[in-house]
């Protein structure tokens, strides 16, 4: 299952946020979307999920135009991990994960034992089985994010979209969630699942070894391997502050505010 954007224009109503975007998430691929606030990352994701209509061009899912697909058909093909949030009512974490099974249920059906098993298995896989009966709204940000990732996994879709899964998390939780995403993305990649995620931290793209798409002002500025796309020059231009990219003695890349910043 391939997710494609062809000459896609995105935005809300008459307000254009980005135009002529070409993008592809192929099976087994991990794509990392980077760019400053307001560059159109979330708008692009909402368009690719069919939550808002494209203003031009086309979004294709497995070759079929997204706008022709019913919500349940899209949900069986793409799962979505939003930023950690709290619903107004104290659902159990397991209930939140089971909601990932909705697209596989009949309109009037309830999730059954099979769905429960699937949900528990995904929580197990992320090491959060002990949270199953805890109140989701009282979990830490990192735990909630993992619950939402488990929900996306329970959806068993060939594509996963994650919108800034590490934003609004503290340092420890960022590492925790990023570590899980790394394991998951590589497992997904082996199974032929495609993953596209956005992040504010260019280090994450290096850490994940993901294919990079660097957005700027509603257009794609650079793309490719992190080492090629995320250079001091491109990052400085996009983020508007001097940025240095350094290699640590252990061989990892880190991005730092440059001299003069």
């Amino acid at each position: 299952m391939k997710l494609e954007a062809r000459g896609l224009s995105i935005g809300y109503g008459r307000r254009l946020v980005g135009r002529d975007l070409d993008l592809e998430v192929a099976p087994g691929q991990i794509v990392c979307l980077l760019g400053p606030n307001g560059c159109g990352k979330t708008t692009l994701f909402r368009t690719l999920l069919g939550l808002i209509p494209a203003l031009g061009g086309e979004a294709l899912l497995g070759g079929a135009p997204l706008r022709r697909l019913a919500r349940a058909e899209i949900a069986r093909r793409i799962s979505y991990v939003p930023q950690a949030h709290a619903p107004p009512f104290p659902y159990e974490a397991l209930e939140i994960v089971m909601m990932g099974r909705t697209a596989r249920l009949g309109r009037f059906a309830q999730p059954g034992p099979g769905d429960r098993t699937a949900a528990c298995a995904e929580m197990e896989r992320l090491g959060i089985a002990d949270l199953a009966h805890r109140d989701y709204s009282r979990l830490s940000g990192g735990q909630r994010q993992l619950v939402l990732i488990a929900r996306a996994l329970a959806q068993q879709a060939p594509l996963i979209v994650m919108d800034e899964p590490t934003a609004s998390l503290d340092f420890g939780n960022q590492s925790l969630v990023l570590g899980e995403i790394g394991k998951l993305a590589h497992a997904a990649s082996r199974d032929g699942q495609g993953v596209i995620l956005s992040t504010h931290n260019p280090d994450h793209a290096f850490a994940l070894g993901a294919e990079v798409v660097l957005m700027h002002d509603g257009a794609i500025h650079r793309r490719g391997r992190p080492e090629a796309a995320l250079t001091a020059a491109s990052l400085s231009e996009v983020y508007g502050v001097p940025v240095m990219v350094e290699r640590t003695p252990s061989g990892r890349h880190v991005c730092l505010p440059g001299p003069g910043a």
Partner: protein, 334 residues
């Protein structure tokens, strides 16, 4: 650690049903013509003294059934709306159904129409108000749809309230005005079997889709974007829930008048007992609402020389309870 009482589901269900049966039986015995439980039971099944039979079958039974029906309907509609609008402060009248029903009934009383027409007007007024809200809200394109619905509900409710006030000013102060005031506070004092019969199927018709869609309504509590990403046609489900809850609320408002607070407070008690999951919250809220209104209505007809309007009692009981909920100050309102 997240749930309130760790009662098994079956035990809780049986306990609620047993409590409802016991309360109903008690309500049949209580009144100016007191009966023992065996006497009430005998009268209910057509045995015993003719006078007891008359009291039980013609006066008390319709009231008991009406109280159960009205309470269950309002609490179920309230639970649905709180989940749908993701807000624990929402009551079934948020989209103007009570204001519309009130205006309809007041028009009927103002025109000195027979009771059946007053009820019909109330039902039609409630349905029309919500239909108008939905039409106006869908015409407002540049804001969040749920926000547009709620704000339009407030506007239409205020307009209907203004029209109701105008009719109260114009109404005959000796005959019509007391009837209007009494109706707007809600009462089952004059409820007969013929009042309940049309409301029963309407309430049942409204509760069926709420029950069938219970899992999807649950998912909608995560918000539109997430629900849609999980495969739920959010707009269509919301429309169905609003239509069903409005049908239910308008039907019982036509019978009982405007009874506030039940749909707001009862779902909170439901969440304390079984948590927020809608599949459990809906039936538990309906059962609690039925029992609660039966108790309140029995109080209404026994505590004073004259009947106390239901709306006054539900407010007197509901308001302090709500303050207590606020004071507990827990996020999530469980």
């Amino acid at each position: 650690m997240s749930r309130g009482l760790p009662l098994p589901r079956l035990t809780l269900g049986l306990a609620l049903v047993a409590a409802l049966v016991a309360l109903s039986l008690a309500a049949l015995t209580i009144g100016p013509f007191p009966l023992s439980v065996p006497e009430a039971l005998a009268a209910l099944f057509g045995a015993g003294e003719p006078q007891s039979q008359l009291v039980v079958q013609n006066i008390r039974l319709p009231r008991v059934v009406a109280a159960l029906l009205v309470g269950a309907a309002l609490a179920a509609a309230g639970a649905s709306y709180q989940t749908l609008f993701r807000n624990p402060l929402v009551s079934p009248d948020i989209l103007g159904v009570s204001a519309g029903a009130g205006l309809g009934a007041v028009i009927g009383i103002f025109l000195s129409l027979p009771v059946a027409f007053i009820q019909l007007f109330a039902f039609a007024g409630g349905m029309a108000a919500v239909l108008l809200v939905m039409l106006v809200a869908s015409a407002v394109r540049n804001t969040d749809h749920v926000l547009a619905l709620v704000l339009t509900g407030v506007v239409i409710g205020a307009l209907a309230g203004a029209a109701t006030s105008l009719l109260k000013v114009l109404a005959d102060p000796y005959d019509q005005l007391p009837a209007i005031t009494f109706w707007l506070l809600g009462s089952l004092a004059s409820t007969t079997t013929t009042d309940i019969l049309p409301a029963l199927p309407a309430v049942a018709l409204g509760l069926v889709p709420l029950f069938l869609l219970r899992w999807r309504i649950n998912v909608l509590a995560l918000g539109d974007d997430e629900a849609r990403a999980l495969g739920v046609e959010a707009g269509r489900i919301r429309f169905t829930v609003i239509a069903a809850a409005t049908l239910v609320t308008a039907s019982v408002t036509a019978v009982a008048g405007v009874v506030g607070w039940v749909g707001l407070v009862i779902p909170h008690i439901g969440r304390m007992l079984v948590g927020p999951s809608f599949a459990r919250l809906l039936p538990v809220s309906a059962a609690l609402g039925a029992g609660y209104l039966l108790v309140v209505d029995t109080l209404a007809r026994t505590i004073g020389e004259v009947e106390v309007p239901l709306g006054i009692l539900t407010a007197v009981i509901g308001a302090p309870f709500f303050v207590w909920l606020l004071a507990r100050g827990r996020r999530g309102w469980s």
